[in-house]
Structure formats: structure tokens, C-alpha cells
């Protein structure tokens, strides 16, 4: 859309990452997804009279791990507070969260934008409990409440308003998504709501220092929607201002079906949350010793791994980026290099090429790949030792994918072994030359292009199994 003036956009994201614990943050109920309604809501999750919360150590460990990965200050003492409001999916009438003293303080994340990098500030990350779900399919005009999700541990990660476009917001969100999965603190499953995003969006005339009035957009749960919702909101705000209106500070809900945001008046009317320290919980102490223990468990982080892949394996930017985009992919790649002892570039190309294409087509990811690295290594070894050509290898891969067999079994079964017997190749070449004297004449008169014709004929005759280098060499000799 054309605007009468230049506008700047200011965006901050609040990401809720569900921590991958077995049990809930304050109770011993399971966190598994997809159970029958209310079968994983125990007395504590239901907020029965008299019950009390006890904090899950793993949730704290995961939060600290995350804090270390973004080089944040870890609070030696952090405090849980109650956020008071009434909602049917909030069993106690308050959410246990952190307010004044969050476990993770200021940190940062580098994102890649337009070929360069940009540092995005992270204000804080705090632990809190998730609420339940309202199911809107009608029960005689009523809603049903499922509290299985109530009490699931969340890490709310709040960015500084450092993002300047929807594209940057998506890059930041992807980076964070990659990081939490690397750390193993969140499964990142966006369909199941394990990684959710709210965005604070405002616009201001180009060059103005002060921020405009911000609007919070809730419930944007895919990378695609984040970009669309933010861009939509930016347009809405600019249009509003350019038509003489004013942006109201409010919460809006993104509706992916209609690609629009609409005001959530219900959330607006009384947002005096009356935070105060939860008297049922004591301050959480994170000692230097505890931090040291966690530090020792920290995996290699994506940026470090990418640099190492480039240096150690000689990968180009693109392959290094793709192969470090998840820990599973990176681990697969390193296992493949080790098992095949092939050149790492060959390994990388096969992974980012055929393997990932096949996975995409089958809607699978590397962790559920039917092609284990050992089998793929078997195939690469046969390319490397010239048992098969690269072209035949694609055919072998396809058959391996379908059958689950090893490369060697497929090659033997289908008789695809490359022919390196010079006698056999020579006989075929002689036959082809004898049958195509016209072309021989042309070649000898300087028409080099005809050489390709001969290669093609020979390979066709040999069903592609001839070693191309050998064919080339011998043809050249014979045609001279």
C-alpha cells in the first residue's frame, strides 16, 4: 500500500515456550499432549481447596539453561507471584508467574537480516504455569473446560522492542525456536501450542524517537501467521492514523482464517492483576554451584556449531545453515561423515538434496527418517569407491527409501554395479563406432559436440552402469 509518509515499525515479541518436563511445574501430573479431557488434571492443577504447589526442579534447570544460552543474568533469588484474574480456564483465579524478580534477566540473541547480523535484546524470561483450554463446541450453548494443560510449565521470553519489521520478527522467532529445541527445553511443536507468540506492534513517523501506542496481538502460532498478522496490524495502524484516527492501546486477537485482527474487549475491561508474591512458594535460590552444573550440560549452540561446520567440514554458508538448523540434523550429518568416511561435501549435498526432498515429500523430519544414517553412509561409500555412478546412486536411493534395504542389497539385487571392466566397455565402444560412421566423420572434422552423442550411446547400451570416466577416456582414444 502507498503511504503519504515514511513510517517506522517497532515490534517486540513475547514467546511462550512450553518446557519439555515430564510433570507439571507445581504438581506431579503428566504433561503429555492429547490425553482425554481432565484426566491429567490432579488436585493441585484443579486448585482444590487446601492444595499447595511444589516447584519442579527440571523447569528451573531448563529456564537457567535458556538464560545461559542467551548470555543473560541469572537471578540468584527469583520470586513467584500471583497474577489475579477470573477466567474459567484458570482454576485458582490466579496464575502463578514471576513478576518483579524473574529467573532470567537481560540477555540477547543475534539474528540474520539482509546478509548481516543484528542483536536483539531479550528483556527477561520468566517461569509460569499454563492455563487450561475452553472448548467452544456447544454443550447446550455452554463451553467445556479441559484443565489438562493447566499447570504445564511455560517460559515466557520477552524481547526488547528491537525488531523493525515483520521479517525481523520472524527471523527472531525462528532463531529462538531453533535455540529452545537445541537446548532440549521445548519440543517446539507449534500445532500443539508448545511454542506460542504474542506481538506488540506500534508505528511511528519515520525519524521520530518516541514510540507510538502499542497494540498487543495474541494467539499467533505459526511463522507464517506472525508475519501476516504483524504486517496486517502495521497497515491497520497506519491507515487509522493517516485517516485522522488514533491507535488505542488494546489487545487484539489474530484470526488466521480471515487474516485479520479483532479487538478482545473481554480481556480489556479489568486488567488490574493485583500481583503479589505467592505466599505458598518461597524465593527460588540459584547457586553458583547449580549454575556450574547446568553449564556443564549445555550443548553446543547453533551459532557455534555453524562456524565449526564451516571450518571443520569446509561447508558453504548455505549448507552450514541448513545442517545446523536443528540438533537432530547436525547430529545426523556428523554421524554420516563418520560412518561413511566420505568427503563431507558429498555427505552435505546428499543430505540437503535427495534426503531432505524425500523427507519433505513424505512429511517427515530427520528424527523420524526411515533412511538411517548408516544406510545412507552405505550408499555414499559405493559412490566413493565407484561401484555406482552418481546418477545410478539416485536410483539406488529411491529403491532404498521404498524398500528399507541396504545400498549393497539394492545394487546386487538390481545388478546396478558399475562396469569398470575395460574389455567389456571397449567391445561396446567398437560396436557403436562401427554403427555410426557418419558421426565419427563429423567428430573427426572438428564437431566436438558429437562426442556427447557417443557417450550417451555407450551408457545407454550399458544401462548406465559403465564408469563414465573410463568411457570418456576410451572413447577419446578410439575416435582419434
Amino acid at each position: 500500500m502507498e503511504h503519504s509518509q515514511q513510517w517506522d515499525y517497532v515490534i517486540g515479541l513475547e514467546i511462550h515456550a512450553q518446557l519439555a518436563t515430564q510433570s507439571k511445574i507445581f504438581s506431579g501430573a503428566a504433561t503429555a499432549y492429547g490425553a482425554e479431557p481432565n484426566t491429567q488434571a490432579c488436585a493441585v492443577d484443579l486448585g482444590l481447596p487446601g492444595v499447595l504447589p511444589v516447584l519442579n526442579e527440571q523447569a528451573v534447570t531448563m529456564a537457567v539453561k535458556f538464560g545461559m544460552a542467551i548470555e543473560a543474568e541469572i537471578a540468584p533469588y527469583s520470586v513467584f507471584a500471583r497474577k489475579n484474574y477470573f477466567y474459567p480456564d484458570l482454576p485458582k483465579g490466579y496464575q502463578i508467574s514471576q513478576y518483579e524478580l524473574p529467573v532470567v534477566g537481560k540477555g540477547h540473541l543475534e539474528i540474520e537480516v539482509d546478509g548481516g547480523t543484528k542483536r536483539i535484546g531479550i528483556t527477561r524470561a520468566h517461569l509460569e504455569e499454563d492455563a487450561g483450554k475452553s472448548l467452544h463446541e456447544s454443550f447446550h450453548g455452554m463451553s467445556g473446560i479441559d484443565l489438562n494443560r493447566a499447570g504445564t510449565p511455560l517460559l515466557e521470553i520477552v524481547s526488547e522492542p528491537d525488531l523493525r519489521s515483520a521479517k525481523e520478527a520472524v527471523a527472531y522467532m525462528r532463531k529462538l525456536h531453533e535455540l529452545v529445541r537445541y537446548l532440549g527445553v521445548c519440543d517446539g511443536n507449534m500445532q500443539e501450542g508448545s511454542f506460542r507468540c504474542d506481538a506488540n506492534v506500534s508505528v511511528r513517523p519515520g525519524g521520530q524517537k518516541e514510540f507510538g501506542t502499542r497494540v498487543e496481538i495474541k494467539n499467533i502460532n505459526s511463522f507464517k501467521f506472525v508475519e501476516k498478522a504483524i504486517n496486517h496490524e502495521i497497515e491497520r495502524q497506519i491507515e487509522l492514523i493517516e485517516n485522522g484516527g488514533k491507535v488505542v492501546q488494546e489487545t487484539r486477537l489474530y484470526d488466521a482464517n480471515k487474516d485479520e485482527t479483532r479487538s478482545m474487549r473481554s480481556k480489556e475491561e479489568a486488567n488490574d492483576y493485583r500481583y503479589f508474591p505467592d505466599p505458598d512458594l518461597l524465593p527460588v535460590h540459584i547457586s553458583e554451584e547449580f549454575k556450574e552444573q547446568i553449564k556443564a550440560q549445555l550443548p553446543e549452540l547453533p551459532d557455534a556449531k555453524k562456524s565449526r561446520f564451516k571450518a571443520q567440514y569446509g561447508l558453504d554458508d548455505e549448507n552450514a545453515y541448513i545442517l545446523t538448523s536443528s540438533r537432530d540434523l547436525a547430529d545426523y550429518f556428523e554421524a554420516l561423515v563418520r560412518a561413511s568416511s566420505c568427503e563431507s561435501k558429498l555427505c552435505a549435498n546428499w543430505m540437503t538434496g535427495d534426503l531432505m526432498a524425500a523427507l519433505n515429500k513424505a512429511d517427515l523430519d530427520i528424527s523420524t527418517s526411515p533412511m538411517q544414517y548408516e544406510r545412507l553412509a552405505g550408499l555414499l561409500i559405493r559412490i566413493d569407491d565407484q561401484t555406482i555412478s552418481g546418477k545410478i546412486a539416485k536410483q539406488v536411493f529411491e529403491l532404498m527409501w521404498q524398500s528399507g534395504a541396504t545400498a549393497d542389497a539394492v545394487i546386487a539385487g538390481k545388478g546396478l554395479k558399475q562396469i569398470t571392466d575395460t574389455g567389456a566397455i571397449e567391445a561396446i565402444i567398437d560396436k557403436i563406432i562401427a554403427a555410426n560412421q557418419d558421426q565419427v566423420e563429423q567428430y573427426r572434422n572438428g564437431k566436438d559436440k558429437v562426442f556427447g552423442f557417443f557417450v550417451g550411446q555407450v551408457m545407454k547400451e550399458m544401462q548406465g552402469k559403465a564408469n563414465p570416466a573410463e568411457v570418456n577416456k576410451m572413447l577419446k582414444e578410439k575416435l582419434q
Binding site: 482444590l48 481447596p49 511444589v54 474459567p88
Partner: protein, 483 residues
């Protein structure tokens, strides 16, 4: 039978002088006979007789401890699985708790026989038992007087010999004040000594369960089973529980008693004051040394308490919304109507008052002036106690400024009612242990002596009270008609 101490009852059960079934039946008969006191909200006669039978079998087979087969009753604030747990409120008048409180589990495990559930101020908010949805309990010493609150049913049941002993809870004096008004022995333990799991929360940072009994000795036996670490309560303290009974034999010669001058100021009734003076004299005879002390911040305990307790309660009681348990209004129009009407109908006036006060104190713009200020004063009060308890072994004073007041006398004036807790509230703010011990009478109504100790000195407090009870008989007096 019903006048015997727990140790005497345990002996009788072992010697087969009587069975637990007989003992239980005799208490059940007395409960029926004295129904007009309105002590019990629920009596579980069949279940009690059944567990008495099991206790008898246990005693015969030699697998028994002191509480095995001893009938007791719980304040209706403790969740009891499958049994109505009303908390004295219409809100929970249909709530059969789906689980047991840790205290209930521990007493069941010890083999005690539960007779039923005891009346109390609604959600433990009150000092007279008049805020109960089930009506006021009558004081057996003077039936037109209140029993005190909030553990009024517990105090009366013990005083009238309707149970051997009872559990209570104390947030601002709710064990000690009714114990004083009814002439029994009550102990509020150190915060964290007794598990709060399954004890319906009023003000989480102040609530503490404890024993209500006829003597320090009985209280020691009961506390032994109630106290201890509970992994389900984050505020429970992991610290060994001493043997309280064996601690009762220590002499108190040389005991240093502090008398805080703030406990003996203007508001104190003269006759109550002289009863306390005489009790202190008795301790001097036992070899104790008395010292005057001062705690200047004590006068702010009431305002600080009436910020902190309502603030916590306003949040703790938000879970009563008509969705998962408790009262739900008829035909709610929408969500707001469901919440507002269910809560409006389910809660009584005093509970509403405190929810409103707490909501106000926590709301934007008032939080610092009220809540933070009160928490700061709480620290000052706590430091006052720490300072004087460095100089003396314990503090003594009255439990309440007067004896039991008349039913209806103060219920219309909340402030006057709040001031009746003036000597007990500060102890909860500091989290210290304190006892109420019968020390005499004024106008035929019992007076309680308060003994306050340092953190986790329940054993010392019980011994101090026991030594006093060895040379006095106030704790053995029985109200007329309840012998």
C-alpha cells in the same frame, strides 16, 4: 471415661478396661446429648465405630501407639476424604473433599478415631464463631457467650468433653483465643511445623494447624502426630520432631520469662490482668525469673495483619468460582454472572468484607501504601520478637483482653471484633509458636495465659505449661453440666 487424659485412655485401652468402640460410643452419646452446643457440623458415627473396631484389633495384636483408638475430631477446615468439609461456609456446604489433608492422614495413620468435623468461623475468618454458616457455637461455661474463634467448635468440643482432643488452626489467634475462652490448652506451632496441605487456606503465610486439648500433656501427644515435614507443602520445614512427651519432665528453675509491657496496656480487663499476674507469681514460685520487656512495634500488628491476611485471602478464595466444586448459582446468564452470583451467594458477610479489603489493598495505586508497608511492619514486629527472645526464654501475657464476650455483642462492629485478637496476631506475623493455658476465671468464665516461645521451641513451651499444670488445676475444671 470421657474425663481421662489421652495417656490414661491409652492405658485403659491396653489393659482392656474398656475398648475403643465403647469409648467412641460414649463420646458419640455425649455429642448427641449436647447437640445444642452446635459444636459439630458433621458426625460420622458409623465410620468412627468402624475405625474404633480396627483400633481395638490393632491394640490386641500389639500394633498400637498412644493415639490408637483415641477419639478426636477435626476442625472443618481440614479436608477429609468423602466427608463434608464445609469450612463453615455455604460455599462448601456440598463439598465432600476428594482427598485427605496431610494432618488427617497422619492422625489416621496413628490410629486415631475421627468422630466428625467441628464448627468454625466461615473460612476461619472471625473471633467468635458467629460467622459460621452453621450458626454460632455456645460456650459451655456460659451459653450466652461466644466460644471464641475461629476454632470455636474445637474448643467447645474439648471443654465439654465431647472428644478427647481436637485439631484447630490459627491464623491470628484462632487456636489460642477460643482455647482461652473455653478453658482448654491450645498450641499454635511455629509456622512450617505442621503441614498446611489439605488445610483450606485463609492467609497462607500466617495459617498454622495445631492441637487443642485438655492439658499440655494431651497437646504434646496430639502435636507429636500432627507435626513433621511434608514434601507437599513448600513452606513445611524439614527438621526433626522432638519427643514432646519426654520433654515434659524438665524443671523450669531459672526460666527467664519476659513480660511485654504492650500486653498489659489500657485495653486489658482488670480481672484478666490479675489472673495473669497470679499465674506469673506461680511461675516465680517454680523458680522462674521475670523481666519486663518492650516491643514498640507491636501496636501496629492489627493494622498490618488486616492488610496481609485479607490480601492473601482475597487471592486464596478466588478459586471458589462455581466451576469445579462448591456453590454455583442457578442459571447463570454469562461467565461474569456465574462468578459474581456464585461467590455473592456462597460467601458470608465477614468473608466478603475481607475479600474486598484484600482486593483493595492489592489493587493498582494502593499496593505500596498498604501491602508493602504492612510487610515492612511485619518485619519490624518480627525483629522486636527476635530481640526480646535473645534476652528471655519465653514471653507471657494474656491471650485476649477480656473473657468470652456475649453472642451478638461485637458481631455488628468489625473493628471491635478485630481488636479482640490484639495479643495473638503479632505472633502469627512473626511465625512463632505460642500456647494458651487455662490460668483462672473471671466472673465464672475462663482466662487463658499466653506463653510465646522462640522458633521450634514447642517442646519447651509444652514443658513450661506442663510444669504450671502440675501445680495448678485450672485445666481440670469442667463446666457445669458437662462432668
Amino acid at each position: 471415661m470421657h474425663n481421662k487424659s489421652i495417656i490414661e485412655l491409652a492405658k485403659g485401652l491396653r489393659s482392656k478396661a474398656f475398648s475403643s468402640v465403647e469409648l467412641t460410643q460414649s463420646f458419640l452419646n455425649r455429642i448427641k446429648k449436647h447437640e445444642h452446643l452446635n459444636c459439630f457440623i458433621t458426625v460420622i458415627a458409623d465410620a468412627a465405630l468402624e475405625s474404633a473396631k480396627q483400633a481395638d484389633a490393632g491394640i490386641s495384636s500389639g500394633a498400637a501407639n498412644l493415639l490408637t483408638g483415641i477419639p478426636l475430631a477435626h476442625k472443618d477446615i481440614f479436608c477429609t476424604q468423602g466427608v463434608l468439609t464445609s469450612c463453615g461456609s455455604k460455599m462448601l456446604a456440598n463439598f465432600n473433599a476428594p482427598y485427605n489433608a496431610t494432618v488427617v492422614e497422619q492422625l489416621n495413620h496413628a490410629g486415631a478415631v475421627t468422630l466428625g468435623k467441628l464448627n468454625m468461623d466461615e473460612f476461619a475468618m472471625g473471633s467468635s464463631n458467629e460467622t459460621s454458616y452453621y450458626g454460632c457455637v455456645k460456650n459451655p461455661w456460659h451459653t450466652s457467650s461466644v466460644p471464641g474463634g475461629s476454632s470455636g467448635g474445637s474448643a467447645v468440643a474439648v471443654a465439654a468433653r465431647l472428644t478427647a482432643c481436637a485439631t484447630g488452626t490459627d491464623t491470628g489467634g484462632s487456636i489460642r483465643q477460643p482455647a482461652a475462652f473455653c478453658g482448654i490448652t491450645g498450641l499454635k506451632p511455629t509456622y512450617g511445623r505442621v503441614s498446611r496441605y489439605g488445610m483450606i487456606a485463609y492467609a497462607s503465610s500466617l495459617d498454622q494447624g495445631g492441637p487443642m486439648a485438655r492439658s499440655a500433656e494431651d497437646a504434646a501427644v496430639l502435636l507429636q502426630a500432627m507435626a513433621g515435614f511434608d514434601s507437599k507443602d513448600s513452606t513445611s520445614v524439614d527438621r526433626p520432631v522432638p519427643d514432646y512427651l519426654s520433654g515434659l519432665s524438665g524443671a523450669i528453675k531459672g526460666l527467664k520469662i519476659g513480660l511485654p509491657k504492650e500486653f498489659f496496656g489500657d485495653g486489658l480487663n482488670n480481672e484478666v490482668a490479675s489472673v495473669i499476674d497470679r499465674a506469673v507469681e506461680e511461675f516465680k514460685k517454680l523458680g522462674a525469673v521475670v523481666k519486663d520487656v518492650s516491643m514498640p512495634n507491636l501496636e501496629l500488628a492489627i493494622p498490618a495483619y488486616y492488610v496481609i491476611a485479607p490480601a492473601e485471602c482475597s487471592s486464596n478464595l478466588s478459586r471458589f468460582d462455581g466451576v469445579r466444586f462448591g456453590h454455583r448459582c442457578e442459571n447463570p446468564r454469562d461467565l461474569t454472572d456465574l462468578f459474581t452470583r456464585s461467590r455473592g451467594e456462597g460467601f458470608g458477610k465477614e468473608v466478603k468484607r475481607r475479600i474486598l479489603m484484600g482486593t483493595y489493598a492489592l489493587s493498582a495505586g494502593y499496593f505500596d501504601a498498604y501491602y508493602i508497608k504492612a510487610q515492612q511492619i511485619r518485619r519490624l514486629i518480627s525483629e522486636d520478637f527476635n530481640n526480646v527472645l535473645k534476652e528471655v526464654d519465653c514471653l507471657m501475657g494474656p491471650v485476649a483482653p477480656t473473657t468470652a464476650f456475649g453472642i451478638g455483642e461485637k458481631i455488628g462492629n468489625p473493628i471491635e471484633m478485630y481488636l479482640s485478637d490484639i495479643y495473638t496476631i503479632a505472633i502469627n506475623l512473626a511465625g512463632l509458636p505460642a500456647m494458651s493455658v487455662p490460668a483462672g476465671f473471671s466472673d465464672g468464665k475462663p482466662v487463658g495465659l499466653q506463653i510465646i516461645g522462640n522458633y521450634f521451641t514447642e517442646d519447651k513451651l509444652l514443658n513450661i505449661a506442663h510444669q504450671y499444670q502440675s501445680v495448678t488445676d485450672w485445666h481440670q475444671r469442667i463446666p457445669n453440666g458437662f462432668e
